[in-house]
Every structure is written in structure tokens, then in C-alpha cells.
């Protein structure tokens, strides 16, 4: 079974806030800062599966919770041990799964670490995002993914809108909190994930840790998933794993590839926008 990776989009309003806080608050501080990101399940087919950072990332109300590590030099940014960082984050995710905390706080299993080097003299920003996933090697689809009828999709979308919970349970026409999986008959429910994947019949990266959590919690080799989308058809999956999950998967993945599909950071040059002369013109 395969999953569409996320692609990080960063607004100028995000960098503008980084400029301000780096100069006035953080200075040479390199400790992780809490950060939020938003996703959209309404983007059109064929566009990137988007994770967005903006001015709102600093306001503490976003759907995804993560952290930013802002490094002071390009060398420390480049040499940062991202594998170790992701492994440590994966430990936290696994802890949330094992303790059952994930059922009340699903945001604890989908987190991200956004690492940045900001050259504030030249207004060039280098960044690399990772959304850690504990990868199960032997996930497979029991049958072809099925399209969901629009009426059912609409019920789930309106629940999402009201509850602001991006992972929940759907059973016999009603929506329930995740803890319901502890008492429901396994054949009677599906797990719904608000999924920014824009590829038909392929689930997105944010489903992966949820699948792991469900398989570990139920100790079963099978589960059903709904990849919920707003701008297009939602998809139903029947997922299999060869043996029940009893130990933490060792393979941690999720470091993002850049626009050229290379395992490298991305860069953006905002000197034309942020240049002091330009800013002075604005200050009038």
C-alpha cells in the first residue's frame, strides 16, 4: 500500500513573522519553537498534497501541531542529524499510541519538525520539513479502493466542520469518537481521516500513523479506512497486515523531498519582496 507524501507551502506572512521574532525575541536561541500548520482537503486533483505555514502558524490554533528549529548558521542547518531527530519524535508518537492517548488527542501522532536557516541579511530562507511516519513494511490492500457515495461523504464533512476533529470513527451511518473502537465490533466501523491527498484512490501520508495506531490498539490484521476529501470523491480502503503489530516499527520515514524530487532542503529568495529599500517605500 502506498501513500502520497505531503508538500510544505510557506507563505510570506510566515517568513515575515520569523524575521521579526528572530531579531526581537529568539535572537541566538536555537531551541524548538511550537508551531502549527494547516491542511486542505479541498484542493483539486493533481495539485500537491499541501501542508501550509502562514502567520497563523504562530497563533496556536492550527490543525497540525509541530515545532520549528531555527538554526543560526548554514553549517549547523546542513549538518543537523535529522535522522536522530525524527527517531526521537517517533518515540513520542509510539508512546502516544501505546498509552492510548492518541484516541483522545489524535494530533499527537501526526506531528512535524520544520528546520530552518534564515539569512536575514539577504532574505534567503532554507528549510526542510519532516512529518515522521513509523512505516509498516507489510501493509497491503485487500481489495481495490472504493469510491464513497457523495451523500455519505457529506455526512462526514459536516461532522468534520462541526467537531474540528480530523480523525474519527464512522459506524452504521453515525460518527463517533476514536475511543469507540475499544467497544465496537471490528466489522462495524471505519476510521475516517481528513486527507489532503489529491490523488484518486491513493491515501495520503497523514493516514499512515493512524493505521498503525488502529492496528496496534485492536491487535488485528485488518482495518477499514476512509480517506475523506472535500473537493473530490472520498475513498474507502480495506487494509491488511501480515501479522498483528506488537512492536514499534523501526523504520522512520517522512523527510520531505524538494521541488526537484531530491532528498535536499528547499530554498526561497524573498530579497525582492523584503529588501529594506522596498520596505521603506511601504512605510510611507
Amino acid at each position: 500500500m502506498q501513500f502520497v507524501p505531503l508538500c510544505t507551502f510557506v507563505d510570506a506572512s510566515y517568513w515575515s513573522e520569523v524575521n521579526r521574532r528572530k531579531l526581537n525575541e529568539w535572537k541566538l536561541e536555537e531551541t524548538p519553537q511550537p508551531l502549527g500548520a494547516s491542511i486542505s482537503i479541498y484542493d483539486c486533483v493533481g495539485s500537491d498534497s499541501r501542508l501550509s505555514l502562514s502567520n497563523e502558524s504562530f497563533l496556536g490554533s492550527s490543525v497540525l501541531k509541530g515545532q520549528m528549529i531555527l538554526l543560526n548558521t548554514v553549517e549547523t542547518f546542513a549538518k543537523l542529524d535529522r535522522k536522530a531527530m525524527m527517531n526521537a519524535e517517533a518515540d513520542g508518537i509510539w508512546d502516544s499510541i501505546v498509552s492510548g492517548r492518541w484516541m483522545n488527542q489524535p494530533t499527537t501522532i501526526n506531528t512535524f519538525i520544520f528546520t530552518v536557516f534564515a539569512d536575514l541579511k539577504k532574505f534567503r530562507y532554507h528549510y526542510w520539513n519532516c512529518v515522521p511516519v513509523l512505516a509498516l513494511a507489510d501493509l497491503s490492500l485487500k481489495e481495490q479502493p472504493q469510491e464513497m457515495v457523495e451523500d455519505e461523504s457529506r455526512v462526514l464533512l459536516s461532522h468534520l466542520e462541526q467537531s474540528q476533529q480530523s480523525v474519527f470513527v464512522y459506524s452504521k451511518g453515525i460518527t463517533l469518537p476514536l475511543t469507540a473502537i475499544l467497544t465496537l465490533q471490528h466489522e462495524d466501523y471505519e476510521i475516517v481521516v481528513a486527507d489532503p491527498s489529491t490523488t484518486p484512490a491513493v491515501a495520503g501520508a497523514l493516514c499512515r500513523n493512524v493505521i498503525l495506531a488502529v492496528l496496534w490498539t485492536t491487535k488485528r490484521t485488518e482495518m477499514r479506512l476512509i480517506s475523506l476529501r472535500g473537493g473530490q470523491v472520498s475513498w474507502r480502503f480495506r487494509i491488511n497486515v501480515s501479522v498483528p503489530v506488537t512492536i514499534r516499527p523501526s523504520n522512520v520515514v517522512g523527510l520531505e523531498r524538494n521541488g526537484k524530487d531530491e532528498m535536499k532542503p528547499s530554498s526561497v529568495d524573498l530579497s525582492k519582496q523584503f529588501h529594506p529599500h522596498k520596505l521603506m517605500e511601504q512605510a510611507v
Binding site: 501513500f3 486542505s40 484542493d43 520515514v253 517522512g254 535536499k264 519582496q273
Partner: protein, 291 residues
């Protein structure tokens, strides 16, 4: 701006008389838009630029990642491609032949297939861009520093677009736009803002964005200004000085036909009329408006 500072917040509805909105009416129209076109969402302001006449979590509207496949040039009207089609010709295929007199004009009848850039051309373009992109040098330094080989992941679960498809999508990967609608306190109408990104998700320059604005409006109706709620550099905005007038005219036309426009529908109509200014930006305006 000073004008904005000195203008009191509009409290009493003047929508029917002059086509302007109060902040409350803007919020009602925004809620309606978000409900019917969920690609749009309410956004919060930078705390320093919070406008207290709007709810804290409903300062302005935003839609991101809107594709823009063609440049305006490619859409421009060319009279040599024109052919008058008779009513029969038009209706025949759909099974309802029109009358002889009411001919249609097919403005792109003789047009060849839309010119799509070949991969080679795109690569050449890329090269050109790289040359005047002085950020490239810095990126190379970083490439040397990052040992990407050691970071390669063994992830069979990662979905990769198939090879031949990827070539295609590389050619067709569109520019994208983020659109914002703010409430303009001075003109008392909604105001549209645009930030564009190229195929590689880098911000577009003003000149590049002008390729996506209709020639009649670039540099005139569209101006670079500072955002009322965000602490960002100047961004492109459709100047709101004619919005109320246009809205009022539309309402009058509808009234002649015995129909009435509700204040909630304001932004749906607004998005339809600004489409003339940005004809190739494919935002969600497809929902038919029932009056």
C-alpha cells in the same frame, strides 16, 4: 492609510442604496461563501493588525494553491479564428437546432490545438530563469554541505507518480495563486488580493503576475499595496474604488427582472465580476448562482 483612519466604521446597512457593506454584512457574506465554496476559509490577522470591527477569527478570507494554467496572452481574442455558426450548426449536436437567424460566433473555431510547451522548451526556460536567479549559487553551497545520500529513505510506502506521467506533469505543472478577500474600511466593500507562485513554488515577480492580469487592468485596476491584516511586503490587489458602483448596477439589473440580491450572496457575485480581471486564475466560482 489616513483615509482609512478617518473613515468611521459603517454601521447602518446601505447595501441596497449604494452597494456597500458594513463589517457585519461582510462577515455574513463571508460565512455564506465559506459554506458554499469550502476552498475558502476565514483567516486570522497578525495580532498587530487586528481590526476590532471584525471578529478575531474572521478577519479576512483566504483560498490557497489555486491553479493558473494559462497566461492571459494565450486567451486573447484573435479575429482570424472566428467563424459564425448558424443556429443549426450549434444546436444539431445537442439535439435542439436553433433558428436560422440566431447565429453564434465561435471565437476559436480555426484555432490550432493550444500550444503546449515541450519539455525541452520548459528546460530552456528553466535555464534562463536560473541565469538571472542569483539565489542559485547559495543553493549549490548548501547542496555540497548536505549529505543527501545518507538521508535517503527506504520507504516502499511512498507513492511516486509513474515516470511518463511525471514528464507530463512537469510540463503542465501550473502556476498557483493565493487569493485573499479583505474588508476595505474606506471603500466599504470587499477587496481582492493576489500572491502568485511559479511552477517551482517560488514567488512571482510583479511583471510575471501581470501576465495573468487582463491587459485592460494590469497596472491600473491592479495595484501593489500593503495588506490590512498581514505584516508582509506589498502585494497585488484589485483596487476597490469601482466595486460598490458595479454591485449597485448588477442589483438594479436584477431588480428590473423582479429579482433581489441578498447581502449573503455579495461575495459570490463579487468573485464573478473580478474574474474578468484575472480570467486564467481558476478559483472556485463554478457554483451557479440562483437568484
Amino acid at each position: 492609510s489616513v483615509g482609512e483612519l478617518l473613515t468611521p466604521v459603517l454601521r447602518e446597512s446601505k447595501f441596497r442604496e449604494t452597494g456597500v457593506l458594513t463589517p457585519d454584512e461582510f462577515v455574513a457574506a463571508g460565512d455564506h461563501l465559506v459554506h458554499h465554496c469550502p476552498t475558502w476559509a476565514w483567516a486570522k490577522a497578525d495580532p498587530k493588525k487586528l481590526r476590532e470591527y471584525l471578529p478575531k477569527d474572521k478577519q479576512f478570507l483566504i483560498t490557497r494553491n489555486v491553479p493558473c494554467h494559462k497566461r492571459c496572452m494565450q486567451m486573447e481574442y484573435d479575429p482570424t479564428q472566428e467563424k459564425v455558426l448558424s443556429g443549426n450548426e450549434v444546436g444539431a449536436e445537442d439535439g435542439f437546432a436553433g433558428d436560422e437567424d440566431s447565429g453564434w460566433v465561435d471565437t476559436h473555431h480555426f484555432a490550432s490545438v493550444v500550444p503546449v510547451r515541450t519539455l525541452e522548451e520548459v528546460k530552456d526556460l528553466d535555464k534562463d530563469n536560473d541565469n538571472d536567479d542569483d539565489g542559485e549559487e547559495e543553493a549549490l553551497d548548501l547542496d555540497d554541505l548536505v549529505d543527501s545520500g545518507a538521508l535517503e529513505e527506504n520507504d516502499p510506502g511512498r507513492f511516486v507518480v509513474k515516470n511518463e506521467k511525471m514528464m507530463e506533469s512537469e510540463v503542465e505543472k501550473p502556476r498557483t495563486y493565493d487569493l485573499h478577500i479583505t474588508y476595505d474600511k474606506y471603500y466599504q466593500v470587499p477587496r481582492l488580493w493576489l500572491t502568485g507562485y511559479n511552477e517551482r513554488r517560488l514567488p512571482l515577480t510583479v511583471d510575471e503576475m501581470n501576465e495573468d492580469f487582463s491587459a485592460d487592468h494590469a497596472n491600473k485596476t491592479i495595484t501593489m499595496e500593503s495588506h490590512p491584516h498581514l505584516d508582509v511586503p506589498l502585494i497585488a490587489s484589485v483596487h476597490p474604488c469601482r466595486h460598490a458602483e458595479t454591485m449597485k448596477r448588477l442589483m438594479d439589473q436584477l431588480a428590473e427582472n423582479g429579482k433581489e440580491l441578498s447581502v449573503e450572496q455579495y461575495l459570490l457575485i463579487f468573485l464573478k465580476f473580478v474574474q474578468a480581471i484575472i480570467p486564467t486564475v481558476e478559483y472556485d466560482y463554478t457554483r451557479s448562482i440562483q437568484l
